[in-house]
């Protein structure tokens, strides 16, 4: 992404953050650490851009979209019900609401973020989101089977609707490791055959 945009982000960051949290932002190294550190603030207000900028090119507060505005997950993650992968929303989906002057955003930080989205759209560029949820490459996780079985997204992804910054739910919730999967498969009494997930 362009230098100007980088500067833009930095500016936003500075304005939003009190000096203390600045440290987190500047080291992009440990995104999750930064995110977790900032999480409480985010989840409380549901409005939290600056911290997100440390991880994501654009601050996308799930708390506002999925929480405050109660947008269904599948609205953006459109293939979760019919595919193994949930799908990352195309920029056009963002523009569906955020095309110039459609949705009024109260906070002016928010406005700045949305302008960035529009910039991407106008350049015909895609937004390089950073991947937060990832299983090992030799694990096959068919989303459609789990949605179809009536699981709620939050059962694996944590209380996304409260996250100003999307992050792995803390290990107490579930570490996304095999033991975690198995324990649930045992509770639900569903297959524990290896080649259900490994092939």
């Amino acid at each position: 992404m362009g230098v100007t945009r980088k500067i833009g982000i930095a500016a936003v960051v500075v304005t939003v953050l009190a000096g203390g949290s600045l440290a987190f932002v500047q080291d992009g190294q440990d995104a999750n650490a930064a995110a977790q550190a900032a999480a409480p603030a985010g989840s409380s207000t549901g409005d939290n851009y600056g911290n997100d900028a440390g991880i994501q090119p654009i601050a996308f507060p799930h708390a506002i979209h999925a929480g405050t505005n109660r947008i269904d997950c599948a609205y953006c993650h459109y293939s979760a019900e019919r595919s193994v992968s949930a799908g990352i929303p195309p920029v056009s989906t963002c523009m569906g609401c955020h095309a110039a002057g459609k949705v009024q955003v109260q906070s002016e930080q928010g406005q700045q973020q949305i302008e960035m989205v529009q910039e991407y759209w106008n350049d015909g560029e895609t937004i390089p989101w950073v991947r937060i949820h990832k299983v090992a490459d030799h694990v096959k996780f068919p989303h459609m089977r789990h949605i179809n079985a009536g699981l709620d997204c939050t059962q694996c992804h944590g209380p996304v609707q409260e996250m100003g910054v999307l992050q792995q739910p803390d290990p107490a919730w579930g570490d996304g490791k095999m033991g975690w999967c198995i324990s649930c498969h045992v509770e639900q009494d569903v297959s524990r055959d290896c080649t259900v997930c490994h092939y």
């Binding site: 995104a31 999750n32 991880i55 459109y78 293939s79 019900e81 019919r82 595919s83 193994v84 992968s85 949930a86 799908g87 990352i88 929303p89 195309p90 920029v91 056009s92 991407y120 759209w121 015909g124 560029e125 895609t126 937004i127 390089p128 989101w129 950073v130 991947r131 937060i132 990832k134 090992a136 490459d137 030799h138 096959k140 068919p142 989303h143 459609m144 089977r145 179809n148 792995q168 996304g176 009494d189 569903v190 297959s191 524990r192 055959d193 290896c194 080649t195 259900v196 490994h198 092939y199």
Partner: protein
């Protein structure tokens, strides 16, 4: 469709995703890499769902057969090609070369962009400059433009011709494998300028005079399927006979029931001898009556050293059954090839096969196969300086023509040479300007394999971003415009649509064009009724002088040299595919390197053995090759494969073997003008060197183990204890043994083996069932009477399951990773006289034993049995003790000795994201395409329905042209596999000896001769 093709950004952007993260799934990165980027679309193409494959139809251009393709793409990147079931030619199957076209798409050696040769060095140049330069040169050439092209689709051909007519120039075509003599003979005999279509189905007596219709001849996929349907035994125990006449057994010949090993060039004599016998009875030889007088069986016998009785007997069988005979093919293109083909036409004609099983109108091949004669003329005019600009597209004459033709010098002499090669080749190596064409999976085009069949070729993905290529059609159009003589619309796509618009009108369907066009893109093929013409069954007066005698051979060497097309490389086109190089040749089972086939007796006379290097000298050249002793070639004949010995190709082809064409004269057969391939004698002299050939063949004898038993056709229908009790002494090789004894011989624990295979107790169920109580039990049936050993399944599997290639030295050590090993055992192969032939082909893959020896020995339960009857292999659990491989009696487990999967960009783009990529230290094997099973299961569960029989199709079954493989749920008694498992021919390899209870059920090959001892 076209909409989102033109706005390329989406596909290409999504490819970035693939580039960053998704290329296959490796076993290396097990931690979450937060650095990984997710790149969504800007606007999602309506036809792509992440994680769900999207299929496009296209047309294979691996050879001129024009098989229909289904192209599987994931997130905008092609990951596999399969046969298009709607297509009348291939009917869903695809050959090994077709699969390999995928590697050409991602070939790391492809040209990265247009280039100009500046004092010997290739310099990158922009498309704009390049086109300007070419336009300027063409204007300068003042009409002396020569375009040398390969076989191309109608639209492209038309476009090129328009271009040439506007800028002033001529086009010649050069295809290494063309049937000019057959075409000419057809014209002479019946007055139709086509390559006939041969209808195998319904034939009960098939006679091939050397045509390799399973490997390369005319339309191999279609003909192999037809052959398998005709020669495979049916439920009534009827089976078509196949007799092969020729000096060398190619793979097609190995599938024959009888072999008549005539000397090279003797086809005409035998065919006419037979024809004369038949004509003598029902005589309608027409204008050829007196020729037949001259060729009595006795005369033919004298000419070929056969018994006259043999020929009469062949004639009887040919006349008394619905029969078909076909010509010598490329390997048999000698100086009298047209006459030979004509003789076979006469034979077919007198036996009344023309019009029924030899079709001259319906289904006849219309793919132009222009003769070598034209090329000769072109070379002359190049040499005489009559050519200002020469353009080469889709063919490689600098490699494919015999050096004697003088092409290279003439070509080098042309002031400006342009190559449209996609990847480097010998001709491009001499070119001044290189304008890389797109691979056919990235480009628009069409084909018309026969009258009435129009097949579309559409881009299945945006062009691979590593390579800045441009469709040659578009280049020509823009050059024409720059040169001041524009040709119609600006893009190939528009030309294509225009042509199809006119086609649409000519067909006169109710639909409006757009709908019809989208329908055509969807199904990939359009069939329009051909104007009904009467099949010209009667023979015409010959209008050319023909000699039916055995042709002359150059030189006075001890052996006649046969140069035969490769079933892996064709004429060398697919040589730079690592898959093709590593695929063991179906006949010799040798990978990567070249060889010369010599009869064991002859080899003994020469004092050489397998691997000894010999010098092969013809009057036209000399090469050095290691020996492969092959009982399937006459003692007075040696054979060398085409397509090897590339010099300026990519990293996988260069330097493997030698180019057989260097031994041949550059001579056009008369009157057809086809290039002669069977024209010279050679002397063979040992050099004393030894070359360790990379072969997968351990032993060509079954050593009395009944690995691939056969059933005498007379014994069918008589055995009471059919099915799993089928093989007793003399068949399976082992007599029945009491259960205990079998367990002593290697069973693990007392396993009940009475009853049907479907009822065997299932290990592994303690690991829990799937949701529904009706857990399927997957099994496979392979009909060895249909299997021809063509090896298409191996490549299909390799492509589907990310099976890595390992290179020559690793194969030499025995480390090839093929999940399917096509075993080839000789039973009766005798070149000394006409008679019975018995070669057994058996695809050996993981048998998914229900009492598997590999499972109990794995210390970490990486090898275990799944509840649905698979022998699971959990890659990420494998520690790599190799105990399972040691204990596998079928030796189907292969091991990653290194990280073979690290292939150069962008070859890794081909990897199937649904299958884990294995790195070093991991055991792998056939998984019954478990990813496909799971895909269907997931779908079925979400849609809340049961899985239908035949819904799960593993890659090998999908691509098998012979329809020999059937996969399904054996617990469902109505499924085809359950039915076949109870067939009287069914047996399970080694089951009687070590009680492994395989889930793979083989159906014995059926022979026309008694099978005596246990080895059979």
């Amino acid at each position: 469709m076209s909409a989102d093709m033109s706005s390329g950004i989406k596909r290409r952007d999504f490819l970035k995703v693939v580039g960053v993260g998704g290329v296959g799934a490796g076993l290396t990165g097990c931690s979450t890499e937060s650095a990984e980027k997710l790149l969504p679309y800007v606007v999602p193409p309506e036809d792509i769902t992440p994680g769900v494959a999207t299929w496009y139809t296209s047309t294979c251009n691996g050879c001129s057969a024009g098989c229909g393709m289904w192209v599987r793409t994931r997130e905008g990147r092609v990951v596999k090609v399969e046969g298009n079931p709607n297509h009348p030619v291939s009917e869903g199957a695809l050959c090994q070369r077709g699969h390999a076209s995928l590697q050409a798409l991602y070939a790391p050696d492809r040209y990265t962009g247009p280039m100009q040769r500046v004092n010997g060095e290739l310099q990158p140049i922009s498309w704009d400059e390049a086109e300007a330069l070419l336009a300027e040169r063409i204007q300068g050439a003042a009409g002396n433009v020569l375009f040398i092209g390969g076989a191309m689709g109608p639209t492209m051909a038309d476009l090129v011709d328009q271009f040439l007519s506007s800028v002033g120039g001529s086009r010649v075509e050069w295809e290494g494998l063309n049937e000019a003599p057959l075409r000419e003979a057809t014209r002479i005999a019946f007055g139709r300028d086509v390559v006939p279509h041969y209808e195998f189905e319904g034939a009960e007596f098939i006679l091939s005079f050397g045509a390799d219709f399973i490997e390369t001849w005319v339309s191999p996929v279609q003909y192999q399927r037809g052959f398998a349907r005709a020669a495979g035994v049916d439920d009534e125990g009827r089976k078509g006979e196949f007799v092969y006449v020729g000096p060398r057994l190619n793979l097609t010949g190995q599938n024959a029931d009888e072999w008549v090993p005539i000397p090279a060039g003797g086809e005409a004599a035998v065919a006419l001898g037979m024809a004369s016998v038949i004509a003598g009875r029902i005589g309608n030889a027409g204008p050829y009556a007196e020729i037949l007088q001259a060729y009595s069986p006795e005369a033919a016998a004298e000419a070929t050293g056969l018994e006259a009785a043999t020929i009469r007997e062949l004639a009887d069988r040919f006349q008394n059954a619905p029969s078909v005979a076909m010509g010598p093919g490329v390997a048999g293109q000698h100086r009298n090839a047209t006459a030979a083909n004509l003789a076979i036409h006469i034979l077919n004609s007198v036996a009344g096969n023309v019009g029924s099983r030899v079709r001259l109108v319906e289904n006849a091949q219309s793919a132009p196969s222009r003769p070598y004669g034209e090329v000769e003329a072109a070379i002359r005019s190049m040499a005489s300086g009559g050519v200002g600009v020469v353009m080469v597209h889709g063919t490689n004459p600098a490699y494919g023509l015999p050096p004697a033709s003088g092409f290279n010098d003439a070509f080098a002499g042309v002031p400006f040479k342009v190559s449209f090669a996609t990847e480097p080749d010998e001709t491009a190596a001499m070119a001044d300007l290189i304008l890389p064409d797109r691979h056919f999976l990235e480009a628009w085009g069409d084909a018309s394999p026969r009258p009435g069949v129009y097949s579309l070729q559409q881009p299945a993905m945006e062009s691979v971003p590593h390579f800045d290529s441009k469709q040659t059609g578009d280049v020509l159009l823009s050059v024409a415009t720059r040169a001041g003589s524009p040709v119609g619309p600006a893009t190939t796509y528009d030309h294509l649509r225009n042509r199809w618009q006119s086609l649409h009108q000519s067909v006169g369907v109710a639909q409006d064009f757009e709908a019809w066009w989208r329908g055509a893109l969807k199904s990939g093929v359009v069939e329009v009724p051909v104007p009904a013409t009467e099949e010209p069954v009667t023979l015409r007066q010959p209008d050319a002088a023909l000699i039916f005698d055995t042709p002359a051979f150059d030189g006075d060497g001890e052996f006649v040299l046969m140069v035969y097309p490769s079933s892996r490389f064709g004429d060398g086109k697919q040589a730079n595919s690592a898959w093709m190089q590593e695929l063991p040749d179906p006949v010799s089972k040798i990978a990567w390197h070249g060889w010369i086939e010599i009869h064991p007796a002859a080899a003994e006379r020469l004092g050489v053995d397998k691997g000894d290097v010999v010098t092969v000298t013809s009057p036209h050249g000399a090469v050095e090759l290691p020996v492969f002793t092959y009982p399937g070639v006459r003692e007075d004949t040696v054979a060398v494969q085409m397509g090897m010995g590339r010099q300026n190709s990519g990293r996988y082809a260069n330097g493997n073997g030698v180019n057989a064409m260097t031994l041949l004269p550059a001579e056009a057969e008369q009157p057809s003008g086809g290039l002669v391939h069977l024209a010279t004698r050679v002397s063979v002299v040992p050099t004393g060197d030894v070359y360790r050939l990379a072969t997968i063949e351990g032993s060509d004898s079954q050593s009395g183990r009944g690995i691939a038993p056969a059933a005498y056709i007379g014994s069918l229908g008589h055995s009471e204890d059919a099915g799993y009790e089928g093989e007793g002494e003399g068949e399976g090789g082992y007599e029945e043994k009491p259960l205990e004894e079998m367990q002593m011989l290697g069973g693990f624990g007392a396993v009940e083996v009475e009853g049907k295979a479907a009822d065997w107790p299932l290990p592994g169920t303690e690991r829990g069932d799937y949701a529904d109580p009706e857990t399927p039990r997957w099994a496979m049936a392979i009909d060895l009477d249909k299997c021809t050993g063509c090896s298409a399944c191996i490549v299909a599997c390799q492509s589907e399951n990310n099976v890595a290639f390992v290179g020559e030295d690793q194969v030499r050590m025995g480390r090839d990773l093929g999940w399917i090993r096509l075993e080839r055992y000789y039973e009766t192969v005798d070149a000394s006289h006409a008679g019975t032939l018995d070669v057994r082909h058996l695809p050996m893959l993981c048998q998914h034993c229900n009492n598997a020896p590999c499972e109990p020995v794995c210390p970490v339960v990486a090898a275990y049995h799944t509840p649905d009857g698979l022998n699971g292999q959990v890659y990420n659990r494998c520690v790599g003790t190799r105990y399972c491989a040691n204990n596998c009696p079928y030796k189907v487990r292969v091991y990653n000795w290194y990280s073979y999967a690290d292939v150069p960009e962008p070859l890794n783009w081909q990897y199937n994201p649904d299958v884990t990529i294995r790195n070093t230290g991991i055991m792998e094997k056939c998984s019954f395409c478990v990813q496909r099973i799971r895909e269907v299961q997931n779908k079925a569960v979400v849609e809340g329905r049961a899985i239908a029989d035949g819904e799960v199709v593993p890659a090998c079954q999908q691509s098998c042209p012979a329809e020999a493989i059937v996969f399904g749920n054996i617990k469902d008694s109505t499924s085809r596999v359950a039915e076949l498992a109870e067939n009287e021919r069914t047996y399970r390899v080694l089951d009687k000896l070590i009680n492994t209870q395989p889930a793979v059920h083989y159906l014995k090959k059926v022979t026309f001769h008694e099978v005596e001892d246990a080895a059979h």
